[in-house]
């Protein structure tokens, strides 16, 4: 297992009052789960915490996570990831899905 944490600047997320968290993905081969939660600490940055069973790809992770923070407004959140060898595109898709779930309004 490899664990690392990193923060990136990001525009502040549009956080709906009705949601406290959002989860996307599952932990499984080539997949990961992403949990987004509010963080009171810094509204203009996102704090990632990653646990992966495929060590040795930190550069690639940080590039993908940094790009996501700069393309989407996720400031003021903590994003925790449990990974089992997902490719960067899957990481980006799950991040987007979690963000979509979070910001979509409950029917």
């Amino acid at each position: 297992m490899e664990k690392f944490q990193q923060s990136f600047p990001s525009k502040q997320v549009a956080w709906p009052a009705s949601r406290k968290w959002a989860l996307s993905g599952v932990v499984g081969s080539g997949n990961l789960e992403v949990l987004i939660e509010p963080s009171a600490a810094a509204p203009a940055s996102v704090s990632y915490s990653v646990e992966t069973s495929f060590p040795g790809y930190k550069d690639s992770w940080l590039a993908a996570l940094g790009d996501f923070a700069s393309h989407y407004a996720v400031g003021g959140t903590t994003i925790t990831i449990h990974d089992q060898g997902a490719s960067p595109i899957v990481i980006t898709m799950r991040l987007r899905q979690a963000l979509d779930l979070l910001t979509s309004v409950k029917p």
């Binding site: 495929f54 790809y57 550069d59 690639s60 993908a64 490719s87 960067p88 595109i89 898709m93 987007r96």
Partner: protein, 549 residues
């Protein structure tokens, strides 16, 4: 006038046949006497051809050959397209083989590498399919050919059923140059559904004690198609199929292209592309094409081989597939490869590795695999003269200078930036460049598709139009631009990528109007094998390993 006799081969053939005369009744030899027959007709020093490709093999004859003693069976020059069975490896282990010319060693790639290391694998050359078939007519004509057919009649005529494959390409040069053709058949019958090989070209027929094994090699379970593959398929449809109005094409056997096939009746329909693209195919009868065929997208399909389970479906769709007068499916590997070379707008396939020049390879260290038919289709046919829209458009992009070739075939490599287990697809240098592998290839790295032939690279990041690049440096920058978060991709310069994007050489999904949010399995026309059965009206009979109901 010389007294030198000019019919030595014919006389030699007659001698061999007479040695075997006691074994046969007419042309029929009981399977228990197979080893005796092989001993009687094969001589040391022979060029011996053993039929076998990735799907169909003369497996009984291979096993009988491997059971022989190397004192009687020696000094053989083996020629064959695919070394796929453990029995093939046994021939080398027993020291029967003086030299081997072949194409591909898929499942036995590791064993071949081991044999090579211990000096027991004397390679002549590794070929593509049509190359080796061509050499059967030039300098590698078999003295004895061991082939496989579905049925024979008592006169020795052969019926090949759906899997014609390479049988005629072996039989014709052998039979017409005084070689001996021995066929194993699943069944001997009084009357054949149709005659694919006439008895004139056949010397002995053996009713094998078990039917030849056929693998459903081209069946892709829609359940295993991922959202990422669907995203890439949407990108390819928008950026290549629609952009170039690709009418005639070949698809590889991977999940990427299976996703495209299953998006035609949904996403393709939505884009109004039906009747404009994907009309003429050179591809095996892929079950994942059933929804597109049933939705009226496809005019014709010609195939190099059959596919297990598609027999009733293909027979019921003679407007689409080539069928015999008996009504059943027909295929032909060399002619299919030829069609794939000259008559297609596009070849699209996948690969395990792509380097920064666009060369691709399926070779990994410690495995000697070789080539199949992909290079015959995934290359520029310099002898092509007939124009099509797609060919001319790709030609304009590639060759803007006066006097240049007017057209280009679209040669597309479609790969995810990472393989399973986070292995990067994009590499600075191919594993195929490994010295041990190059040594086996007489110093030439086994590149499956050359970067110079490739016009487009499709990844989940977008499309790189390599055909429109003007310099090798520009091509490398375009490749890095779509190589994502691989080490190759991380070395890109954002200024280069932006400039290539401005010129349309790199296109991202959003440039093509593709929304990643829509890339979802629910967009597939079939999400599981049973959906394919439903689409076929119950005519598709999936093999047991694909059934989950």
């Amino acid at each position: 006038m010389s007294a030198q006799p000019r019919d030595l081969r014919r006389r030699n053939k007659a001698a061999r046949i007479s040695r075997a005369s006691g074994l046969a009744s007419g042309k029929l030899v009981p399977h228990e006497r197979t080893a005796d027959l092989l001993r009687a007709v094969i001589e040391p020093g022979d060029i011996l051809c053993l039929e076998g490709d990735n799907q169909k093999q003369a497996d009984f004859l291979a096993a009988q050959l491997a059971s022989l003693d190397s004192s009687t069976m020696r000094d053989i020059h083996l020629v064959m397209s695919c070394i796929t069975l453990p029995e093939h490896i046994e021939l080398f282990k027993k020291g029967m083989i003086r030299k081997v010319d072949f194409c591909y060693a898929g499942p036995q790639g590791g064993a071949v590498a081991d044999l090579l290391a211990s000096g027991k694998f004397p390679i002549g050359a590794i070929h593509t399919y049509n190359e080796i078939y061509a050499r059967y007519y030039i300098d590698l004509t078999p003295r004895v050919a061991l082939i496989a057919a579905a049925k024979a009649d008592r006169a020795g005529n052969l019926f090949l059923a759906a899997n014609t494959e390479e049988t005629p390409a072996i039989v014709e040069p052998t039979a017409f140059y005084d070689g001996i053709v021995i066929a194993q058949v699943n069944e001997i019958v009084d009357e054949l559904p149709r005659i694919d090989i006439p008895t004139d070209q056949v010397d002995f027929v053996i009713g094998a004690p078990y039917p030849m094994h056929l693998t459903a090699l081209f069946t892709r379970d829609p359940a295993a198609i991922t959202d990422v593959q669907i995203l890439m398929a949407m990108v390819a449809i928008q950026g290549i199929y629609k952009e170039y109005e690709v009418e005639s094409l070949n698809h590889g056997v991977g999940f990427n292209t299976a996703a495209i096939e299953l998006l035609l009746p949904t996403y393709g329909e939505e884009l109004g592309l039906k009747g404009k693209i994907c009309k003429y195919w050179m591809v095996n009868p892929l079950p994942t094409m059933i929804p597109a065929i049933e939705s009226g997208w496809v005019e014709t399909v010609f195939s190099v081989g059959g596919e297990v389970g598609m027999e009733r479906y293909t027979a019921a769709r003679p407007d689409i597939y080539f069928t015999g007068r008996d009504g059943s499916f027909h295929s032909n590997r060399p002619m299919g490869q030829l069609a794939g070379h000259y008559a297609l707008d596009m070849f699209i396939g996948a690969s395990l590795q792509v380097d920064i020049h666009g060369n691709s390879s399926t070779v990994s260290k410690k495995r000697i695999t070789g080539f199949g038919g992909a290079p015959n289709m995934g290359c520029q046919p310099m002898g092509r003269r007939h124009p099509t829209k797609a060919w001319l458009k790709a030609g304009r992009e590639a060759n803007p200078g006066p006097g240049s070739i007017p057209g280009r075939k679209l040669v597309v490599q479609m790969v995810e930036t990472f393989q399973a287990g986070r292995v990067p697809t994009f590499v600075e240098s191919l594993d195929a460049q490994d010295p041990s592998i190059k040594a086996a290839m007489q110093g030439v790295a086994p590149v499956m598709i050359y970067g110079d032939d490739v016009t487009h690279l499709v990844t989940e990041e977008g499309i790189a139009n390599l055909g429109a690049c003007r310099t090798p440096e520009e091509r490398t920058a375009a490749i890095r631009g779509v190589a994502g978060y691989t080490p190759v991709g991380l070395k890109r310069s954002s200024a280069d990528t932006a400039s290539l994007r401005e010129r349309g050489i790199i296109k991202l999904p959003e440039d093509l109007g593709v929304s990643p949010a829509r890339a979802n399995r629910s967009l597939l026309a079939a999400q599981e094998v049973k959906d394919l059965v439903r689409w076929s009206g119950g005519l598709y009979d999936p093999p047991a390993q694909f059934v989950d109901w």
